[in-house]
């Protein structure tokens, strides 16, 4: 796999949220504002890149790998939990409003399946450089997915887009033009499930179409 393929596979093809359906809790809970999604995305990026790097470093050398493998689960937990606590402390100190907004979901990154899944499925068997690229790609893919969910929910539910702090794009004129109110349900949990459901369906439909085209090409090639 090329470096480019390794990086971009997390965007759509193996997107942790939209294809593997991992990390659902934060994706549903914090996506009421794009600001929250960006903050959560950066936190996941920091933890995933560094956890992949550290896991790869402690399992890359055969001698160290031999010692780590029997206790790899506690080792991964210690590394991931430490990184999450670092993110938590930094966010609490330097981005306190965002920290309050994300609340419990920052410490819960410790048990985020994406982080642990990439450590177990990828970083433990690959070189540090490759693991970092994989982590960055997956985290960016996750971030883009939650930004997409936030965008739909915030526009439909609140009639605005909160990019960062006071950078708010007011779209109430659109609702005034249509003569309707924002649909508050999209800001609630049921709105999160409905939005994610439609996005998952769209992604699955696109993938089915792409696969069908590929299969048709293969069949054509075989016939020739």
């Amino acid at each position: 796999m090329t470096v480019k393929d390794n990086f971009f596979k997390g965007f759509i093809k193996e997107n942790p949220l939209l294809v593997s359906v991992l990390g659902l809790c934060p994706a549903l809970a914090v996506t009421t504002k794009i600001e929250n999604a960006i903050g959560m995305g950066f936190a996941v990026l920091f933890v995933l890149v560094l956890s992949n790097l550290l896991v790869s470093l402690v399992t890359f050398r055969p001698k160290l790998r031999e010692l780590v493998m029997p206790v790899r689960i506690p080792v991964y937990i210690v590394l991931i939990a430490s990184l999450v606590v670092i993110v938590e402390m930094l966010m609490k100190a330097f981005l306190p409003e965002l920290f309050q907004s994300l609340g419990l979901f920052i410490p819960l990154i410790v048990v985020n399946c994406i982080i642990f899944g990439r450590a177990e499925a990828y970083a433990g068997d690959h070189k540090p450089g490759e693991s970092v690229i994989d982590g960055a790609g997956m985290a960016i893919g996750f971030t883009l997915a939650i930004i997409l969910i936030s965008l739909i929910r915030e526009v439909l539910g609140a009639g605005q887009i909160t990019i960062w702090k006071s950078a708010v794009l007011d779209l109430s004129f659109l609702f005034d033009f249509l003569g309707i109110e924002p649909i508050a349900m999209f800001m609630k949990p049921e709105g999160a499930f409905i939005t994610l459901g439609f996005i998952l369906a769209a992604v699955a439909a696109i993938q089915n179409r792409v696969n069908a085209k590929k299969n048709a090409k293969k069949a054509e090639g075989g016939a020739k």
Binding site: E66, L67, V78, L79, S82, L90, A93
Partner: protein
């Protein structure tokens, strides 16, 4: 056996390294976090003493503030002494069970035991009535004594939310019981 021990040592060493890194990050972030929390508390106190502060004055410029840890439902007590007039006031951060969750209030009392002000600091205790507590006002008489607040208020939720009302009442009750200990009585 030897291999298992070596694996345990690796885990221990990793744990120690992670602990050291966390300690280092904590030394950097803890003063910033403490300062932020202090600023937030002072901002909350400034709301009660706005009439004694000019626009660019902070609470610490006008009052000596002492923070005391409370007991029971009273979480923290801020004792304020005016630097020039020597008058005393106390602000209580207090919490009592409302509707399922706690009602969290800040209640300020002056030296003469009159209620200076109150504020709801969270939206706790509102699930049943769909109200937001922050910004809610009670129909209290001006210059009411803290002892009288327990009887003389309209509860936030009225008759439809007696438990929330009980939470608010309990907050005032806790302060009324404690205040003479901090301000010395009339």
């Amino acid at each position: 056996m030897k291999k298992a021990l070596s694996s345990a040592v690796v885990l221990l060493v990793l744990g120690i390294i992670c602990g050291a890194v966390l300690a280092l990050v904590n030394t950097i972030t803890s003063p910033v976090i403490a300062q932020y929390e202090l600023d937030k508390k002072m901002e909350a106190l400034e709301g009660f003493f706005a009439d004694e502060l000019t626009s660019n004055q902070k609470i610490a410029d006008v009052f000596d503030v002492e923070e005391i840890e409370g007991t029971g439902g009273i979480k923290t007590i801020y004792l304020l002494e005016h630097k020039t007039e020597q008058t005393k006031s106390a602000v209580y951060s207090v919490s009592a069970l409302g509707w399922k969750t706690n009602v969290d209030m800040m209640i300020a009392v002056d030296e003469d035991m009159t209620l200076r002000g109150y504020a709801f600091v969270t939206n706790g205790g509102t699930e049943a009535i769909g109200l937001t507590m922050i910004g809610a006002t009670l129909n209290l008489a001006d210059n009411i004594s803290i002892q009288d607040t327990v009887q003389d208020y309209d509860s936030v939720g009225g008759v439809s939310a007696p438990v929330t009302g009980s939470g608010v009442k309990a907050c005032f009750q806790l302060v009324a019981l404690r205040v003479s200990q901090d301000l010395g009585g009339e």
